[in-house]
Amino acid sequence: MTTPRSILDITDLRKDYVTGDTVAQVLKGLSFSVYAGEFLALLGPSGSGKSTLLSILGTLLRPTSGSMRMLGQELSTATDAELTNFRSRNIGFVFQYHHLLPDFSALENVAFPASAVMGRETDAVLLRAAQLLDRVGLRDRMHYKATKLSGGQKQRVAIARALMMNPALVLADEPTGNLDRENAEHVMALLARINAESGTTFLISTHDPDIAARCHRRLTVIDGRLAGIETSSGPDDAGHRPMLAAE
């Protein structure tokens, strides 16, 4: 077994929402780590703080206090511009709703993150985007406009787009929530395959116990607190990772 390499360390993370005189504590001191190559599930009932946590991990939301260290960089105190730059290079998103750009083709959507960073749509960028679309089984649909694709195809394009910058962490928020059973199965199988083949780290927020069961570890958040961390082989302490994908 290889020594687990942590890519994300969360320590005593808190998030409060203030409305007038009322302070709602949504996250109440979370601490855990995410390791390179992990396939991790984030579980919890509605209102547990799961989405808030995912937003903070995606650097779209700032924590009220606590530390969030990713790839050796402290992000809780970074400026907006630093967070934007960090996000563009190291974090990929797959949302419940695909959020593709409707006026662009599948290929252009996948190439978008790299083209935006480089300022041009280079041949190398388009080649990589085409390879990613091939990998998600949409080689023959790459020039289709996003609006011409089915729901499952759109979500696969969104997955390819999340992988475009070869991010250290892909955050997936209910990635199968809008899909039928068959498409959901395809998407999950695809994510698992990418994780197994490339060692891409996934953190998947889900309600579905079947999806959670396919992950290496399961973090359960209840009422803003980490209620438990469970590995595929059984309950475990935070920070310990008994099973890792090939690195």
Binding site: L61, T84, P113, G119, R120
Partner: protein, 404 residues
């Protein structure tokens, strides 16, 4: 193509109906801008040509004499009295040196020494009062365009000939070749022949002015050495006011600019210029409001997309540029179209809209449409108008936008 420009173009092309409407709005704004420029410039040129074309830009005259005070006994009231200055004709004695200075001035197109005075023109029982303008024959048309406007006879100014206006000729029932008697206000008399009759279209000149040979006029008006005034045409007629001050101070003469003498005309030209500017400003403001509101709507409609771009790490500056680029593209395309249409409309009106006598129905200066300026201004205004929606787009919270 830069990626930001590609996105801006794609956004514009994806909503063709809105883009076409926006383009049309900008084009109409620039069309109005160019058309008004051509119209106002044409009108101004016409008015200036009609009025200033026949008068000097600067007139050098001797200063009028100050009234002398005649005091009586100390006990009696002091009464000012004006000694009649007309008894002694005012003149510029050192006009030759003035002519030398004016000839050396690069701003001066032409300087003409003139001898002038009043006379009665008699033909049989008919008598007409005229203002004699004695001018060197070769300089006859340097100030007023006499020669091309001769309708009978020639523009030759020999020692025994005069040129009179059509109105005066009609009043005196005189025609080319006939003799008339001139009696000047100095009491001198001379018989001259009408060599030519002109029509300038300016009532005061056509009815009152008689042109004479410079030397003949000197003798008739008893001005053997000096001249009555020196008239000057400049290359830039709007340089007249400052030059009148400079020359007035330098020569001690009374130097009057055409603007001073035609204040009402100048005010009218300025007034119509201001009106034209206001119309042009309003057309540009309309463009700004149209572009800004359309792009704000686009910002609202594309809120989720902007949010997803931001979540992918696209910077605020990137989003701002995409929206400003849309403004620039719309402005440039619409303005070019508008300027093209404006030019076509001006050209067609100037070419085809004629009165029965062949003159243009509208005084349009086709070349004065400020087309390039209109394009540049409208493009700049569109870019400026896009800044507000661009800033609004850049401020969109990605989390909020994605959640919607």
């Amino acid at each position: 193509m830069p990626f930001r420009l590609k996105i801006a173009t794609r956004y514009l092309l994806s909503n063709r109906a809105q883009s076409v409407l926006l383009l049309t709005g900008v084009a109409i704004g620039v069309l109005v801008f160019c058309f008004m420029s051509a119209l106002i410039n044409g009108l101004t040129q016409y008015q200036i040509t009609q009025t200033v074309g026949a008068i000097p830009h600067l007139t050098f005259e001797p200063r009028e004499r100050e009234p002398r005070v005649i005091s009586g006994d100390k006990a009696t009231m002091v009464l000012p009295a004006v000694v009649n200055g007309n008894l002694q004709r005012t003149q510029i004695r050192s006009w030759q040196s003035l002519m030398d200075s004016l000839s050396a001035d690069p701003a001066v197109r032409v300087a003409v020494p003139i001898v002038s005075g009043n006379a009665l023109l008699t033909r049989g029982q008919a008598v007409g009062s005229v203002a004699i303008t004695g001018v060197k024959p070769e300089q006859l048309s340097d100030i007023a365009d006499i020669a091309p406007n001769i309708i009978a006879g020639t523009a030759e100014l020999d020692l025994d000939g005069i040129l009179i206006g059509a109105r005066l000729a009609k009043n005196l029932s005189v025609s080319v070749g006939q003799p008339v008697v001139m009696r000047s206000d100095r009491g001198r008399e001379r018989t001259v022949k009408v060599r030519g009759i002109f029509r300038l279209g300016i009532e005061s000149l056509d009815e009152r002015v008689a042109y004479m040979n410079f030397k003949a006029a000197r003798a008739l008006l008893d001005l053997e050495n000096g001249v009555s005034r020196v008239e000057v045409k400049l290359f830039d007629l709007y340089a007249a006011p400052p030059m009148s001050e400079v020359y007035g101070a330098a020569t001690g003469l009374k130097v009057t600019s055409w603007i001073e003498k035609n204040r009402r005309l100048f005010d009218a030209i300025q007034g119509q210029g201001t009106t034209g500017t206001l119309i042009k400003v309003f057309s540009i403001v309309t463009i700004v409001i149209g572009v800004a509101s359309a792009l704000l709507l686009t910002t609202m409609r594309r809120r989720a997309e902007i949010g997803i771009m931001r979540s992918m790490g696209v910077s605020k500056e990137f989003i701002t540029t995409v929206f400003v680029a849309q403004g620039v593209l719309i402005g440039l395309a619409g303005a070019t179209l508008g300027a093209g249409l404006g030019y076509s409309a001006c050209w067609a009106l100037a070419e085809f809209a004629k009165r029965a006598d062949g003159r243009a129905l509208l005084t349009i200066d086709v070349a004065g449409g400020n087309y390039a300026y209109g394009i540049a201004l409208a493009t700049f205004a569109s870019a400026l108008a896009a800044i507000l929606p661009a800033r609004a787009a850049a401020k969109i919270d990605p989390l909020e936008a994605i959640s919607q």
